[in-house]
Amino acid sequence: MAVAALGSATRVKVAPWNDPVIRGWVFQIVVVGLVAALAWYLVSNTIDNLNRQKIASGFDYLGREAGFEIGDTMIAYSPASTYARAIWVGILNTLRVAVLGIILSTILGTLLGVGRLSPNWLLNKICAWYVEAFRNVPLLLWLFLFYKLISEAFPGPRQAISALWNSVFLSNRGLYFPVPMADPIHKWMGVALLVGIAGAVVLYRWAKKRQEATGQPFPSISSGFGVAIGLPLLVWLAAGAPSAMSWPELKGFNFEGGTVIQPEFTALLVGLVLYTSAFIAEIVRSGILALHKGQSEAAAALGLSRGQSMRLVLLPQALRVIVPPMTSQYLNITKNSSLAIAIGYPDLVASINVTINQTGQAIENILLIMAAYLSVSLSISAFMNWYNKRIALTER
């Protein structure tokens, strides 16, 4: 009885318009209602406009013939291919420049970040000015500058700069160089490379386990590289070492044969790498500065070599600070690669832009762009979050 009385006494009766829970729900319903009303207004206008302008809707156009040329493709493509294929070419081009950009700017950015901490005053200042110069000017301006420099300052194909006994040609059409003739063995070499990489991972794990159990170190990194590179080489040798090459040759107004790195791709990649590495340098620098000085001293006192103390003591701790902001830089590279459209590199946005102009179906295409970038962004952040969790400090 007494308990029940106490319970009812502590429960204060409030009017419904003063109850925070009811207020919260009313507020939420009002906001969601407003958003829904706005969405309904926009959608009804859109349907009205589409009907008026006789624009078809739906994704049927993807199966139709695209009819436009794409200058730089990684897979077979011709104007007779479908829109879906054209967009897929664009996605692959975006991924190619993003992946290469991420790898190269990580390397350059790390070098610059370490250089920024060098005791050598000159090196330190050069790295600092590099960072300031590239950070404070829009990426698009760098892209224009590099593209115009390549296309206007380099000679035409007839006066191309040749190097390495007329096998490599640099002109305003890009950098031409010889490649091995297509051979069925290449596919098997690819398989061997994958097997080799898997073998190297297994080897690394085994060596780590053995060292933890017995204290015996094993040169797992160099032998891992050996396995990953040696296996494809063995396959190649076993197939009789086919060494026919396709050489670039000047025919008419341009080169034929060999393969080419196009100027648009070069300008985009160089611009992205130089610009982003300035940001990565600052991230790496702050990651290293965040370490306590005692860490490197303690590692030295334990008798670790400089390389060992870097690899085993300093880097794992610095990475914890570095990885989250690095993730957002990787996402930035991917998103910034869309600036390709300004200098004519056929990335995803460029393909879709042509498609919008030809079909008039803006909504479907914009949805495709967003879906593509969102899935790339989400996969990069999922991977980096997984990596971040792996290297995170394990606390009690």
Binding site: R52, S118, P119, E132, N136, F144, K148, N336, A362
Partner: protein
């Protein structure tokens, strides 16, 4: 030797060795501290000297500053005469030539507005006055004529009255509270009458100059307007998004998280393309929106999501006790947020916000994709003239230099503020 000995076996203090002080000591310490360091220094000096002498030769010694056309420039070094010929176009775009003083003073007004708002003593109601006056001057100069509709005035009266009433309750005296009540009442009644159609669509016209439409705007004022007003409009809505993301109301939180992640996951270009091709479809047929306004809307939408994440960082850095104490004091949600939480959270995020602003300042260059003549685009257009073809490096380096001045000074300011704002907590 015997000079050093003092009576009592003590030794006279010696001056430090010559190679440890002055320029020599500095060089030894900073450039030649070890063999590796010394080699690096020598290699770098040679490389930098080579690059710098080549660059100076091109940019200064063999450069042409006075040529009358591109053909005269050819063969030598840099053709700075091109900049001399085109700088007015690069800075002000297609704005009527004899009226260039207008964008010039508009830029001065905006810079004055930005620089005075950088002063910490102005971070109060004065900021609103500065931005109000600065914006009116800027747009009056750029458009030449502005029309202030009655509904806007009424709306501002309602907003000021409403915010004053909810925030200054129990702080302000009766006179101030009555002023807010009158303002809110005028705004409310006026707007109601306006919607009901009783009041006509009056607007106040200020038209001292000839009208210049936005399609003629170009160059540096466009870049500054897009970045500054992009941030100014995105800021309140970024704050709302950040508060929504931290809210414990599930539907609000879901909406805000979805919106922020969607915008942050896609590149700005796709938003700009969307604004240019989809916005016309979204609106009732017949309504056209100015292209410049479309770009501005896209920049605001984009900026809001990024600002929201920066502000969320500030909100998360506040200890929970602040929220609980405000609740315990019986403050309402708007009072708690505007009087206790935001002042502390925003203070933490001012330096990162300035860095975000630098990012937007650079990102506004993307509007050239949808055909707006911002500073980078006018620089680009200056290259199109067949009389002056073939000097891209000069124009782009000039544009890069201008961008650098803006961004570098802002980043210095942000560094200075970071130190200044942390003075209280630094030991």
């Amino acid at each position: 030797m015997s000079d050093d000995a003092l009576p009592g076996g003590e030794r006279r203090q010696l001056a430090p060795p010559i190679d440890e002080t002055g320029a020599l000591g500095w060089m030894r310490k900073n450039l030649f501290s070890s063999w590796g360091n010394g080699i690096t220094t020598v290699v770098l000096i040679v490389a930098v000297g080579w690059i710098l002498s080549g660059f100076l030769d091109w940019a200064v010694f063999t450069a042409n500053f006075t040529a009358a056309s591109g053909t005269e420039c050819r063969g030598g070094g840099a053709c700075w005469a091109l900049i001399r010929e085109k700088w007015r176009y690069i800075f002000f775009g297609s704005f009527p030539y004899e009226q260039h003083w207008r964008p010039f003073f508009a830029v001065i007004a905006m810079l004055a507005m930005l620089i005075t708002s950088a002063d910490r003593r102005m971070w109060n109601w004065r900021l609103l006055v500065i931005w109000g006056v600065g914006s009116v001057i800027t747009f009056l100069l750029m458009f030449g004529q502005i029309h202030i509709p009655l509904s806007l005035v009424l709306f501002i009266a309602l907003a000021v009255g409403g915010v004053g009433l909810s925030l200054r309750k129990a702080i302000a005296d009766t006179g101030e509270m009555n002023a807010y009540r009158v303002l809110a009442a005028i705004g409310f009644v006026g707007l109601a009458l306006r919607i009901a159609g009783v009041l006509p669509a009056w607007s106040l016209a200020i038209a001292p100059l000839s009208y210049v439409e936005t399609s003629l705007w170009g160059g540096i004022p466009v870049t500054i307007i897009l970045a500054t007003y992009g941030l100014a409009f995105a800021f309140p809505y970024g704050v709302l998004l950040a508060l929504g993301r931290r809210s414990n109301l599930p539907l609000i939180k879901g909406l805000c998280v979805g919106f922020i992640e969607l915008i942050r996951g896609v590149p700005l270009i796709s938003l700009l393309i969307m604004a240019s091709v989809m916005l016309p479809l979204f609106l009732p047929s017949g309504t056209t929106i100015d292209k410049f306004l479309r770009a501005q809307v896209a920049v605001v939408l984009f900026a809001g999501a990024y600002i929201a994440e920066v502000i969320r960082g500030g909100l998360q850095s506040l200890p929970k006790g602040q929220f609980e104490a405000a609740d315990a004091m019986g403050l309402s949600y708007p009072q708690k947020t505007l009087l206790i939480i935001l002042p502390q959270a925003l203070r933490v995020v001012i330096p990162p916000l300035i860095n975000t602003f630098i990012g937007f300042f650079k990102d506004t260059s993307l509007v050239l994709i949808i055909g707006i003549f911002d500073f980078l685009n006018t620089a680009n257009q200056a290259l199109v003239d067949p009389n002056w073809a073939g000097f891209p490096a000069e124009v782009y380096l000039f544009a890069a230099f201008i961008y650098f001045i803006f961004c570098y000074s802002m980043s210095r300011y942000s560094k200075y503020l970071e130190v200044e704002l942390n003075k209280g907590t630094r030991r």
